[in-house]
């Protein structure tokens, strides 16, 4: 009886993993497919990577996405960190309310956020393009940085900042010399998360971008209108590889952030 349950557990785990990872594996495999039709294996080839690298529009979109992701996560890092540090010290009751407000963007359906951003930017008369993209993305990235920094602050020994003041540091020096360096790993992982979220976003980008600025997800989305193409498979494979690198980096940062020996 016990043994059978054990095999069922294994089978179930296998099933879950297969559902999640099999499509990924297929995409990677087909990106090296000679044949233009995805479902037929025509031998190994790097053809589609060559086509992809020759596609200038695709690279423009990639560059936009990277610029957008970097700018949005930098802005989110500043806003989120200052917010978390500032709110860390205020009254618990006010803090609860503020925290809810900060976390709300994570819970509001994205389509609503997208429409609201579009309406708001239009009302302000902002020219749609990279500027509005950065603003919109920063707005939904802030909670990620805020969450990370808040968790780190909660675990930080309050007497460290007191010790710094006791040794003669004013509040700003304490922030630069003590608080910020200790928060750095949390800020970095919040930024990585923000970058991933921004890089991945279609909906909000679709609503707040201008006519001549396109991001990678938007480009992929429009190219897929006529069904999947092998170039997209190749692009996905490259992005997947990039993601794995970032995930590894984030895990490494997380480990650095924790005090050694614990």
């Amino acid at each position: 009886m016990k043994k059978r349950r054990f095999t069922f557990q294994k089978f179930y785990l296998g099933l879950v993993l297969a559902v999640i990872y099999l499509p990924l594996v297929l995409v990677v495999v087909y990106s090296f497919n000679q044949s233009r039709i995805s479902s037929v294996w025509g031998g190994f080839s790097l053809n589609w990577y060559r086509t992809l690298f020759a596609d200038r529009a695709m690279f423009g979109a990639l560059r936009n996405s990277v610029v957008l992701g970097v700018c949005a996560s930098l802005c989110a890092a500043v806003v989120g960190t200052l917010g978390a540090v500032g709110f860390h010290r205020i009254q618990p009751r006010t803090k609860g309310a503020v925290e809810y407000l900060t976390m709300l963007p994570l819970m509001i359906p994205e389509i609503i956020l997208a429409m609201v951003f579009m309406a708001f930017f239009a009302a302000l008369g902002l020219p749609f393009g990279m500027g509005t993209l950065i603003l919109g993305h920063t707005a939904f990235c802030v909670p990620y940085v805020y969450m990370m920094v808040k968790a780190r602050l909660a675990g930080m020994d309050h007497s460290l900042t007191e010790a710094a003041r006791d040794l003669g540091a004013g509040e700003w020096r304490v922030f630069w010399d003590i608080t910020l360096p200790l928060l750095a790993p949390a800020i970095a992982s919040g930024m990585l998360l923000s970058f991933a979220m921004s890089f991945d976003d279609v909906l909000i980008s679709l609503f707040v971008t201008g006519v001549n600025v396109t991001t990678l997800p938007l480009k992929v989305y429009t190219s897929l209108q006529n069904g999947p193409t092998p170039e997209i498979n190749a692009l996905c494979t490259l992005l997947l590889a990039g993601t794995l690198v970032l995930v590894g980096l984030s895990a490494l940062l997380g480990r650095l952030g924790r005090p050694a020996g614990k």
């Binding site: 020994d157 007497s159 460290l160 007191e162 010790a163 710094a164 003041r165 006791d166 040794l167 003669g168 540091a169 004013g170 020096r173 010399d177 003590i178 360096p181 200790l182 005090p259 050694a260 020996g261």
Partner: protein, 356 residues
């Protein structure tokens, strides 16, 4: 007399509905080692934080060298703290930690390096400058925390139970080292502990705290031998407190009735009138065994042997308890044995009752 280095004038502090400090006043002279001794929750850490500027008092003033610093932030007070948790900066090396205060003062790099090296040598940490705090043992971290504070040559050094986390042997060693360091540097130390032995060993003066008040401030000898109140007697000297009443006063002596029997003590402190109730502090080693019929009869209730001391729990005729102790002698006493107890008239001290 010159101005005291540190003056606390009538300091009060409340947190919400809890009154933590009730009108504390204290003066510390230059180079003095003062210990705030009290059980946890008596307000000693709050007192220290008010001196450091990390907490502001609701009432009262803090004066450093006669200058009112009550409203100055911690970074502008010539006072440094050794925190209970050490509070070493984990992202800086040992040298970086120790030199941080000097760096904030804007001293030249070469001077900082030299001073830090001196401090490392002084606290037997030479060669550890490039390590990170997490690579050090508890005792070493302790030394770094002390070094980081003393390199700034503060007027007053505040130490919040600095040896609390160390094991007994290291504690003893650090007690001696700290005392030597203090004498060497000539800095005024305000030291917090709940360990009366530590307080008695290290201090020039002890301020016994209870419920946000100083119950008694005096030299270790005064606090130990002439406790002002029953709380001090019990907390500092682990003394017995006996209840009785005065039957006659005169000739520098009080005649009392304790547990229905006559006893004598030397008069001291405030005068007592015949008929007045009195409490006596009597340390366990000062309890003498008299030949039967010579003193107050007592029954042995239990004996225990701890730390080279034989402790004998006795019951007096009125049911009150008394502990006697003897150094490492097996008296062959059994529970139920009867004997007589007494004490030298100079041994027992009349005290005010402030507990129970």
């Amino acid at each position: 007399m010159s101005t005291p280095i540190l003056q606390l004038q009538n300091i009060s502090k409340r947190f919400g509905s809890a009154q933590v400090l009730r009108g504390l006043s204290l003066e510390a002279a230059a180079g003095e080692f003062i210990t705030l001794l009290g059980a946890s929750g008596c307000g000693k850490t709050t007192t220290l934080r008010i001196i450091a500027g990390l907490e502001s008092p609701d009432e009262g003033r803090v004066l450093l060298e006669g200058r009112d610093v009550t409203d100055l932030p911690p970074e502008r007070r010539d006072v440094n703290t050794v925190f209970q948790s050490y509070a070493l900066f984990p992202h800086m090396t040992v040298a970086g930690n120790i030199g941080y205060g000097l760096r904030l003062k804007g001293l030249p790099k070469a001077d900082i390096r030299r001073t830090v090296e001196e401090a490392l040598a002084l606290l037997q940490l030479a060669g550890y400058g490039e390590r990170r705090p997490e690579q050090l043992s508890g005792g070493q971290r302790q030394r770094v925390a002390i070094a980081r504070a003393v390199v700034n040559r503060p007027r007053v050094l505040l130490l919040d139970e600095p040896l609390g986390a160390l094991d007994l042997q290291l504690r003893r060693q650090m007690q001696l080292e700290l005392k030597q360091l203090q004498q060497q540097l000539g800095i005024t130390f305000i030291y917090i502990t709940h360990d009366q032995e530590e307080a008695l060993t290290m201090s020039d003066r002890i301020a016994v705290m209870r419920d946000g008040c100083f119950v008694q401030v005096g030299t270790p000898a005064q606090v130990y031998d002439r406790p002002a109140t029953s709380y001090v007697a019990r907390f500092v000297g682990s003394a017995n407190v006996l209840q009785g009443h005065v039957t006659a006063a005169g000739g520098g002596q009080l005649t009392l009735s304790v547990a229905g029997h006559t006893a004598r003590v030397q008069a001291g402190g405030r005068p007592y009138a015949p008929g007045e109730p009195i409490a006596l502090a009597l340390r366990s080693e000062q309890v003498e065994f008299a030949p039967e019929g010579g003193g107050i009869p007592a029954v042995v209730r239990e004996t225990s042997f701890a730390g080279g001391m034989l402790r004998i729990g006795l019951e007096l005729p009125d049911g009150s308890r008394l502990t006697a102790s003897r150094h490492g002698i097996d008296l062959g006493l059994q529970p139920g044995d009867r004997l007589s107890v007494g004490w030298a008239a100079t041994a027992a001290v009349p005290v005010e009752v402030d507990d129970r």
